[in-house]
Symmetry: C2
Subunit: 306 residues, 2 copies
Amino acid sequence: MAVTRDPHSPAAAFDLARWSGEWLARIEAALSTWVVADAPAGLGDAMRYAVLNGGKRLRPLLVLAAREAVQGREDAALRAACAVELIHAYSLVHDDMPCMDDDVLRRGKPTVHVKFGEAQALLAGDALQALAFELLAPEDPSIPAVVQAGLCRLLARAAGYAGMAGGQAIDLASVGRSLDETQLREMHRRKTGSLLESSVLMGAACGTTDAKTWAALADYGAALGLAFQVVDDILDVTADSATLGKTAGKDAAQDKPTSVSVLGLERSRRFARELLAQALSALDRTGLPDTRALRALATMVVNREN
Amino acid sequence: MAVTRDPHSPAAAFDLARWSGEWLARIEAALSTWVVADAPAGLGDAMRYAVLNGGKRLRPLLVLAAREAVQGREDAALRAACAVELIHAYSLVHDDMPCMDDDVLRRGKPTVHVKFGEAQALLAGDALQALAFELLAPEDPSIPAVVQAGLCRLLARAAGYAGMAGGQAIDLASVGRSLDETQLREMHRRKTGSLLESSVLMGAACGTTDAKTWAALADYGAALGLAFQVVDDILDVTADSATLGKTAGKDAAQDKPTSVSVLGLERSRRFARELLAQALSALDRTGLPDTRALRALATMVVNREN
């Protein structure tokens, strides 16, 4: 953790790489413990392959940064961090399947259905979603039931019809059609935004119920979630596949509406910067003394190159 | 509800048809309310089609019968009853897909992927699983958080790698191979047994934490869960498709190991009767005054013709 006496010092004084590095080690260890290999008939191998594959772990880091900002419980937050990553991982497994995006590579490796077969990929995704909720509701009585139930509520809503799954349905229906700016934003808010925003709120749920703090963190999460998708769309046309770690230019090839196809490149870039400013200004409204990790993560999301 | 002064009177004095009829009306109404049609881009239609299709609702009835036995909260139990049915419904949607069992008919109607396409079926199943947990963790503060979290824990374990999804992985791996009696029982315990047993325990979780009662109800649920599968395997070879409402003789055609292929028909029938006796004797050990609905459901499961 970077040492600084003034929690209001600029984000530059906060060592994000060091902070992330320390937490990433704990996240990877926890995921490796909780995604067990002894699930029957190869299911555990497929689940581990889907999760322990070197993702950036942005969602877990958001949970942990929000937890730090509200000085909440670390034990519940580490569970929430892993749970949200399991939901993200399962969505990628199902999304890559032939009936969806039909992708054969992810992060340079064969996708789960290529490696383990479609049926096992389907089951592994299903089992990862169930495991996410299992992590949030452990027998451990030291994590208050009200925190456990609150985390389940946030994750279920973010993953379901009103969130991620609903956004994917809009995405499916939108291929080859033109969306206006409002429709596009609605799709992004659900498809990627809801899980990112909920990551922030799940971290908050580990330590506060203050309505003003929640509202401000929700604004931060919503702006960051949308910014993430806008930047994703920009990188899809500006970066090469090697830098991205996935196929560049895929959206245009699949005739999917994106920020760039709707707004153009320059307006998309300006929009991303505006969203970053909104996210940072929301943090000022939280009333929390130390939001440096959240600040640094939002800045990284907008300035990233992959 | 049948009126009787003596709760220990034989199951015959309990009017299961009437009891079920009253609860089924409430279950169907609750499912229709909670599985919303306004999920975007046709997702809601696919979800409703998957759920509101005239299933027997055995799992919800088990939740509600166990709730009645422990005199637990009705509000939480109705949510649990619907949640467990959503998990069952999603598993059928995914199980019917071409990469799994490749079934085109269920209960005489086109399966979800036939009607809505494979991608929408995949998403509808995923969204139904999330919705199950959403139902269990409502904002409603009148349902204690400890009950909400306990229900999430039971359902997540029953649905995941240690339960239903794990059993399906064993099932996948077992096609065309011979299993011994122990392996077959292990597959059935996970694949269908875990969700049936958890239905009983979720009902219990709405009203008691007494360890002796839980252990006895778990024994009841385990015996009933296994009996259900054994009877399913018997009906697959003895009933015709019209009575079953699904394709008879499918297990043999797919070369799947079943109770009948491993034990033979007569030993399977005897085994089902033994399991019923075990289930009823477990109810005697619960120490609960009125277990008539649970008794009648177990008897129905073993004596059913479809």
